[in-house]
Amino acid sequence: MPGAMEDRRVIAKKIASWFHDGHVINLGVGVPILVADYITDNVVIQSENGLLGVGEAIGGLEPEAPYFNAAGATVSLIPGASVFDITTSFGMIRSGRLRATVLGCFEVSQFGDLANMARPGSYPGMGGAMDLVSGIDNVIVATDHCTRDGKPKIVAACTLPLTGVGVVKTIVTELAVFTVSRTEGLTLVEHRAGVSVETIRAKTGAPFRVADNLKEM
């Protein structure tokens, strides 16, 4: 059942469990934004349009509301939040102030190449995604394991235009958690309860090693 909301919440909960007091993170649209529902109180969400300390999404497109996130949705702010211009925003991204960025993908390769900005025949531009993957050390991909028509999103080599080369450190799907090495490729470190390594191999378009201490998600 690719894309089921319950599966996506499994992904979001897993990723949220890695962040602690004081960590600053940036969340992309799609599955990544669900991580916000599970983080602890003292994790701070940055939005690249110029917000540090994003609270809850409180509405849709209201042009005169004071605070928006990068996806254009009205948001509240947490106490201690700040608002700033776009150069300050990407300045904190490029200079290593963020603990992690969580992004979706169309394809991610075994060596951490990320393609998340263009489907075949449609290229709306890279937005801030290239800056995020270039400037933030810990790039986490949160994605359905396969496309709607069952094709692997984790591939040997990407065919779509790249957002970044060798940038992804971790991949989390509803079936598995992989660590990614730019030189060594994929290692399966966690699997969903009841999902065998063979099932994961069948749905993954690239080879991977299995960690000695493989755990359940």
Partner: protein, 217 residues
């Protein structure tokens, strides 16, 4: 101190065919909509638009831009079709890099060195530079004939503050225009804005639209 308030007619007279126009705004938030209207009314054509995204999308549909330099075209199908058809020439630039190119143009620098986009389409046609042992893309500074800015508050001298995330690229765009024109939500006497709260010093501002701020804006 001189007043920089000008009538709508005086502002319309500034626009001419072939100009490069920078516009503030992100996800349709913080756009100088009244100045967009003035630009349309001027009848100027064959313009280049520099902006973070397609927040000036309604102008794109009118065919007044030959070229746009943006980070993301949004998801408006008509925009994507216009770009795909070649009726509008598009240069996509990573958002953080675009912001720094604009800032560089505004503060008297020739360009900036960035790591963002190394090995991707963002590097195409650009020079790669090794500096102090690190690889960078050399990105050129950007300036505009006219910058259109949305502010929350302006005084006679053109000192500006911004509201919430409507700030986005407006402060750097205000610095990068040969002629910078401002739409402010509120017009205040000199000395009403505490000097240390001014975000854009008036030296960067040339004209402020004289309009009724009692309602609707």
């Amino acid at each position: 101190m001189i007043s920089k308030r000008f009538s709508r007619e005086e502002i319309i007279a500034q626009f001419h065919d072939g100009q490069t126009i920078m516009t503030g705004g992100f996800s349709f938030h913080g756009c100088p909509e009244l100045l967009f209207d003035a630009l349309v009314e001027s009848g100027a054509r064959h313009l280049t638009n520099i902006a973070l995204d397609a927040s000036a999308a309604r102008l794109m549909h009118l065919g007044i831009f030959d070229r746009v330099i943006i980070a993301h075209a949004g998801s408006v199908p008509e925009n994507l079709a216009l770009m795909a058809s070649g009726k509008i020439e598009v240069e996509f630039c990573p958002m953080g890099t675009l912001a720094e190119r604009i800032r560089a143009g505004g503060v008297g620098l020739g360009g900036v060195l960035v790591k963002t986009g190394l090995g991707t389409v963002a590097e195409k046609g650009k020079e790669r530079i090794t500096f102090q042992g690190e690889e960078y893309i050399l990105e050129s500074a950007l300036r505009a004939d006219i910058s259109l800015v949305r502010a929350a508050t302006a005084d006679h001298y053109g000192n500006l503050t911004y509201a919430g995330t409507a700030r986005n690229a407006n402060p750097v765009i205000a610095m990068a225009g040969d002629l910078t024109i401002v739409q402010a939500d509120r017009f205040v006497p000199l000395d009403e804005i505490p000097p240390e709260h001014i975000v854009t010093p008036g030296v960067f501002v040339d004209m402020i639209l004289d309009h009724e701020t009692g309602g609707g804006c």
